[in-house]
């Protein structure tokens, strides 16, 4: 399936892009992260959460949506 991935803040600094679309066949969020970790070496040590269709999900969640976002620590206000 096609997955649209968005990157923000310090994560976008590492990926050097704000978004990309990947062709992907795994089941879980963690499967996708494995792919991203090998693609972007410096991602591993970074603190981030994952949103699927604009809701935070655990890494063990099944991939159901096409919109995935990697969100570094929030700093609002």
């Amino acid at each position: 399936m096609h997955i649209n991935i968005k990157y923000f803040g310090q994560i976008a600094e590492i990926t050097q892009k704000e978004a990309e679309t990947l062709e992907f066949s795994g089941n879980l969020v963690s499967d996708l992260l494995e792919v991203l970790n090998s693609k972007y070496e410096n991602l591993k040590n970074k603190d981030f959460k994952v949103a699927q269709n604009q809701e935070l999900v655990s890494f063990e969640t099944e991939l159901s949506g096409q919109d995935i976002a990697l969100l570094p620590p929030f700093a609002g206000g």
Binding site: K6, F8, G9, Q10, A51, Q54, A69, L71, P72, P73, F74, A75, G76, G77
Partner: protein, 148 residues
């Protein structure tokens, strides 16, 4: 009398000015059921981090998700507290040290309500809304802000 508007963006480009805040207070003087207002303002600090001074924060956000979260916080606050109205504004882009980046404004007939509601809303914003802050130092290096 509840001021429940449809979902709109909370974000404003750049700093929130004191004129804007004063004007927002002024507009509430026609709402004569209000007895108490409580306002929170977040201001960018010129923190000294290992000898380097923060001169500005550059804010970005996952805007769609953030506006959805602001909307949920708003709905939940109206459910929990007897509020007459509520307004939230957050900056995007560059906000210099000393300038205001967050403006939360709640009003109610009675004061106890506004204290509880304002703290609830501000804590929810800090915890749940995907906004990111790049602290720019005077030498143009930077680090990423993390809410504590």
């Amino acid at each position: 009398m509840k001021d429940k508007k449809p979902m709109k963006s909370v974000f404003k480009e750049g700093a929130i000015t004191s004129e804007f805040i004063g004007n927002s207070i002024y507009k509430h003087q026609t709402k004569t059921s209000i007895g108490a207002h409580n306002i929170f303002l977040g201001q960018v600090r010129a923190d000294d981090i290992d000898g380097k001074i923060v001169s500005a924060i550059e804010y970005t956000a996952y805007e769609d998700m953030a506006n959805q979260k602001f909307h949920e916080i708003r709905e939940s606050a109206f459910e929990k507290f007897e509020l007459t109205c509520m307004h939230i504004y957050h900056s995007l882009g560059t906000v210099k040290a000393g300038e205001i980046c967050l403006f939360v404004f709640v009003s109610s007939p009675r004061r106890k309500v506004v204290f509880e509601a304002l703290e609830y809303i501000v804590e929810a914003i800090k915890a749940d809304v995907p906004v990111f802050g790049k602290e720019i130092f005077e030498d143009e290096s930077h680090q990423w802000k993390v809410n504590s």
